[in-house]
């Protein structure tokens, strides 16, 4: 069970969460790249169903928005960790 941030090591634990969120932003970017590649390969192979482009576009947009949300959250959480540490 994770320890609560009101314990003495709270700044470190929140900092670890910040790192995780930072890495997740990169993973979302990687997901978007893989989605683009999937679409391209199916199109190239002539196997793409007619609805695929719209679906992939929606997923790409969602990944971009999610990455922006997480970046914002990571920045806010980072400031919070600094304030607790200070």
């Amino acid at each position: 069970m994770p320890s609560s941030p009101d314990k003495p090591d709270a700044p470190q634990r929140i900092a670890a969460r910040v790192e995780l969120l930072r890495s997740d932003v990169r993973r979302l970017a990687d997901c978007a790249e893989r989605l683009r590649r999937i679409e391209a390969e199916l199109e190239e192979g002539g196997a793409a169903p007619p609805w695929l482009r719209e679906s992939v576009r929606a997923h790409l947009d969602a990944c971009a928005v999610a990455a922006a949300d997480l970046t914002e959250a990571e920045a806010r959480l980072s400031r919070y960790a600094e304030r607790l540490g200070g």
Binding site: P2, S4, P5, D6, K7, A10, R13, I14, R17, L20, L21, D24, R27, L28, D30, C31, R34, L35, I38, E41, L42, G45, G46, A47, P49, W51, L52, S55, V56, A58, H59, D61, A62, C63, V65, A66, A68, D69, L70, E72, A73, A75, R76, L77, R79, Y80, R83, L84
Partner: protein
Amino acid sequence: MSGRSRDHAALLRAAACELVDIGVTIHEVSTHATTALTESAAPGAVVRAPAVAYRAERALLRAVTNVQGLGYAFTGGPLGSLAARLGVLGGAESLTVRVLATSLRLRIAAAAVEHPELRDDPMLTRLVEAAAADRDLEAVRALRALFKDRGAVRTLSTLAPIFGEVLALRALLDENPFNDEAAWLIATGRGFASADPITGLGNRAVAVLDTGEGAARRVDLATVESVRLSQRGSLLGFLRNIGLLGTTGRVLIQSVEDDEGTTRHVVQAPGMRVGLPDDNSPQDLLGAFSSAVLDSSPYSRALIRAVEDYGVPRGEELALIGHSAGGAAVMNLVQDAAFCARHTVTHVVSVGAPIDFKRPADPRVRVASVTNQHDIIPTLDGQGAGTCFDLHPDWYVIDYFDPTHLFPRCHSMEHYIANLADDLPEARERIDAELAPYRGRVVRSQAYQLFDRAPRPEGFPFLTVPTYLAETRDGSVELPVRCQDGGSLTAYFAADPAATAALLVSTGLGPAVRVGGRALVAVHASWNRRTSLGEYHEAHLGVVVPDPWRSRSIRVWPDLPRGADRRRSGSFLAGSVVDTAVVRAVAPRLWGGEPYVMPVEFDLTGGAVRVTVGELTDRVLTLTGSLGPWVPASDRDLVAYARHEGATLRSCVRTRGLGRVHLAPRVRLVVGRSANPLTGRLRELGLDGARPLLCLSTITRRTLQEACVPVRTV
């Protein structure tokens, strides 16, 4: 299917598989964000920097609820799971779910490339589109239209290749939070669908209803079955044996010997038995279900007991072949590390069974799985023809389709045998090559009846009695005679007193019990369907006589209903007929006297009776008609007296069963034209055309008949 189509299907499956990976990554991202949100909201920390904490919380909350980003993405931990379920109830979706839905749609598209009927069928397309677009009402209407147009069987058969995908798609997108885990498992291929993808009712909750330690009893195959058993080991031979056993709750174990004299053993397990959902057979519907979803089931435990009873010596090799539920059950055996430690299982061949998430305890076991893509049973674990996962790179998997799309025909053992024999020669040869060590001469075969739990001895406790062998002129037979199931009729007639008196001369019995100045005579017939002497019919003519030593007729009436152990009155046998030589041979030991052997028919159905003695051209009697109204009564024991070689013999038939007393039977006895002496006796008694005063009938009963005992009456 053309090479281009095959390439398209492969591309679509590869894309679906990668989308699963992306969906899982997004799920992990959502879990991290949810955890950060719940951890950072702890009161002790918040009070130290409330404004900054609030802004961090607000940003995290937005990240896991933004419908344009991760969607409603609460997940992980008690709070996250609760919030996730509430969100699903409210119709909220996450990006993970949307990506997995796309993966499922690609799987359906791949299946449609291989099954053009899925793509070209507007009704199916409508269903899939509605499910993918989360239009519940439209999906239900589309399914209803399919059922109405095609019927349930054809609809399920058509849907079979994409059955799991359509269910998972619906489950992912609907507002029921309880089926989400099952949908997740189907979509990601990470385990057996743990619940019904429609309702969310847990499989294990259903499977635990199927309980029992499992039991197996040796049974003999009927002659017609024994002669058809395969006498050499081969894939088709073993499968034909399974087809021969049918869904009768039986399994077969055979031993085969190769040219070097090495003996190996083959367990052959059929599928689900048709009948009650849960009777005492582990091959019932619940048994099939629990075999598929659990690692150990009454079926697999009963199979273990059969193998132990068969006596496979330690170290000798064993192959397991199963169809349908039998395939799942034999996979359970090979998953059982203790079983595999006792026995050297080398091969498993599963046909038409949901075994995708079963794993042999010993990875060296060679597994072959044969499934028809239109057979819905193998898809019950959630992975069917549309699956994009290579779950068993080390197995030999044949997932094929043929023009027969109709379920359950395409699930039948006979259909799989025909496909392997005619359409899949390469697969058959490959599996036969794998089974090469088992392709020797069959040196032993033993069938077993399987049970959820050890069955009571039949007829317990009434028929659980000591037995002994008695010599007859045709050999020895086991006494007492135990009848597990039989039916009977006793008809009482008013007969000519002078004729009955003549029958009783010098017997020390009688005079006959009188009714209105006439003598009481009984005609008794029974059909002993399952006895220790086999099936047989019998018919007796008896004169009802009182206590041989206190022969005042008035005392007989309260004595007649007593049990055999207290009854003194009885019927003096004036003639008996049986229809088997075995019973004729033992008759002098059972009731004395020599019965005639001729055909006896007995039919007691729908409140009417038909008894005939003798063939049509040699008829002794016919007793037919409606038995009329009745009152219930326990079946009465039978007590008979007979004369044999100058002695009087008393015999008893003890009975258990519910009987009926018919007080106004509309039955008539017609005496035939046979030359048999019994015909003349019936006429002398005035019974030709007579109606009985009273009838006692029993549709089903058990009886116990001891040897007769001599008594001195003269």
